[in-house]
């Protein structure tokens, strides 16, 4: 895994290039060029994307904080919903796209986050603080169930996570203080005026989006990111090269637990009412699958694109009920079969469009005409 500094830089190395982008990589830089002029390789490696794009995106994200001052409450609430989808899609993609952990039970954490918020609010914690604490509690839940579920692989992990979600839903429905099976509403937010409440919920959701996206972004640029992408491509090969897969998967699972818990708590803050059957419902996984598969499994930008597409479709077709879900299932399955890296891969493969600086591109410099 760790390349020693003295080793020559290889095009497939995951270590960041210290050479400036335009400079070609030579197998042995100490050798003078004049001695063997043919040693100049045809290809060179450089960071894909630009730092400028990342900075621009961050500035755009920060600018979004101004939305409640400029737009109506309705827009603010809609955008909050979109951001919750973004959080969920990015978290599920981190699990499935990078860790190879296809979970069909992330609704366990969504529901747990929401009900933990209710529980904390009932015990006198201010609701927005409760949202943050509930997300942390979901991470703790993930720490607790991870040793169990990570024993399972592939499809077993998928169904196992589903069992955990169903178990939590049944336990919550038994507790009358949490509203039992009929549902419960978050009362503590009534102290705020409706417009202020929407704005606060929006801001805290946006903050979660930026923190979680930033976390995944830096994780992917870090060595961990290279290891995760290696696991994504071939877990056994990665393990044989010394990537410690178990702690990485554990970390991803806890991160996803935190993010999905936050999304559940924020859903509650956005809608103010939840029922165990819907907040722990399997439809969440259908949505997640659609967003991530259509956007692009195993890419950073894909899930965000998928969440935006899903948000637009949801507004348009959600009234269609069963037909809408049939459409989601067909499209998600179709993408899994025919375009497994999603729409984003079309952009990157066909048009060589890379915005954010992840990974490396092979780059062929223009042939240098030597003056004799």
């Amino acid at each position: 895994m760790s390349a020693s500094p003295a080793q020559p830089v290889r095009p497939d190395s995951e270590q960041p290039m210290s050479a400036s982008p335009a400079q070609p990589v030579r197998p042995d830089s100490e050798q003078p060029m004049s001695a063997s002029p043919d040693i100049r390789p045809l290809w060179t490696v450089r960071r894909s994307g630009t730092r400028g794009a990342a900075t621009g995106l961050l500035l755009f994200g920060l600018a979004l904080f101004a939305v409640p001052y400029l737009f109506q409450a309705n827009v603010v609430q809609q955008l909050t919903t979109l951001f919750i989808f973004v959080i969920l899609a990015v978290m599920w993609n981190a699990l499935a796209g990078y860790g190879g952990l296809v979970s069909v039970g992330q609704q366990a954490f969504i529901g747990f986050g929401a009900y933990a918020t209710i529980f904390l609010a009932q015990h006198g914690v201010s609701p927005y603080l409760a949202v943050v604490l509930a997300a942390l509690a979901s991470a703790v839940l993930a720490v607790v169930v991870a040793p169990l579920l990570l024993r399972l692989r592939g499809g077993q992990f998928a169904v196992g996570s589903w069992v955990v979600a169903e178990t939590l839903a049944l336990l919550v429905a038994l507790d009358e203080d949490l509203g039992g099976g009929t549902g419960v509403s978050l009362r503590g937010l009534n102290v705020y005026a409706p417009n202020m409440r929407r704005a606060y919920t929006y801001w805290i959701t946006l903050a979660f989006v930026l923190v979680l996206l930033g976390l995944v972004f830096f994780m992917l640029r870090h060595r961990v990111g290279a290891a995760l992408q290696a696991i994504r491509d071939d877990e056994e090969a990665a393990a044989s090269l010394g990537v410690r897969t178990a702690p990485l998967k554990f970390g991803l699972f806890v991160l996803a637990g935190f993010g999905c818990g936050a999304a559940g708590a924020l859903t509650l803050a956005n809608t103010l009412f939840i029922q165990p059957q819907s907040i722990f419902g399997i439809q969440w996984t259908a949505y997640l699958l659609f967003m991530v598969l259509v956007g692009g499994l195993g890419t950073f930008e894909g899930p965000i694109l998928g969440a935006i597409l899903f948000f637009l479709l949801q507004n348009q077709f959600a009234q269609q009920g069963a037909w809408y879900l049939i459409g989601l299932g067909v499209v998600a399955g179709g993408f899994a079969l025919f375009l497994p890296r999603g729409l984003w891969s079309l952009l990157t493969d066909r048009f060589h469009l890379r915005i954010l600086p992840f990974g490396y591109d092979l780059y062929r410099p223009a042939p240098v005409i030597k003056e004799s």
Binding site: L148, Q156, V159, V164, T167, L289, G333
Partner: protein
Amino acid sequence: MTWINAVVQGLLLGGLYALFACGLSLLFGVMRIINLAHGDLAVLGAFLVWTISTSAHVSPFWALLLALPVMLAVGYLLQRTVLSRSLRGGPLTPLLTTFGLGIVIQNALLQVYSPDVRSLGGAAGVLSTGSWRLSAQLSISYIGVLTLATAVVVLGGLQLTLQRTSFGREMRATAQDPDTAALVGVPASAVYARATAIAVGIATIAGTFLAIHSTFDAASGPLQLLFAFEAVVIGGLGSLWGTLTGGIVLGIAQTIGATFDPQYSILAGHLVFLAILASPRGRSILTRSSR
């Protein structure tokens, strides 16, 4: 006495779960995939049987005989179209596509048959209502015994097929090494297609017995998938008789849970599953399946 009754009823219920688990276990054993649409395919079969039974006014068992060839064909085509392509996409793709398929089946059934809860119990007549009354609290229903017997016959038949017939040898060879099996003239795709057909066929039998036993609706599939999976894991992966044991353990856990409160029934099953996963036995699941 209620305890003995709970254990006996759980034993009979275990037959139903073993039937559900059987097809799931077969596909996992042969193709190394978990079919997330398994429960929904079983419910689809149950709806087909219900349609035949109510439109032709025949007993569900005759309707099942008519529905079976259709569902075998559905399974065969499912492998030839969706699953074979999924298998080429890597180990995770079948999960994604079968989950999507499950969503499609569920909502298509919802659209066609409405969300009404149905049962085949009435159409099955005395078989579904009758029982041997052993004492005031203990009675053994005909349908429970029939389900358990069917489970034993299906599991035994599958075991014999795997051990004694040439098709069984082909399935075992393909499960161990599809490439080498193909070299000696056993194309994996043909074996997979027949195995899927059998799995969907058994799922249809399971769905029909569920429908006679109790009630079903368009959204019943996922829970049956979970029960099937729990039975497979409790019994130990890759062992057909273990599947029967797993189904019975799950059934008894549920009926004992239900003696405290009907609300605890399903929960008790889930908790037993999680406890077994947490136990040292759970550790061996991973090692055995990663072969």
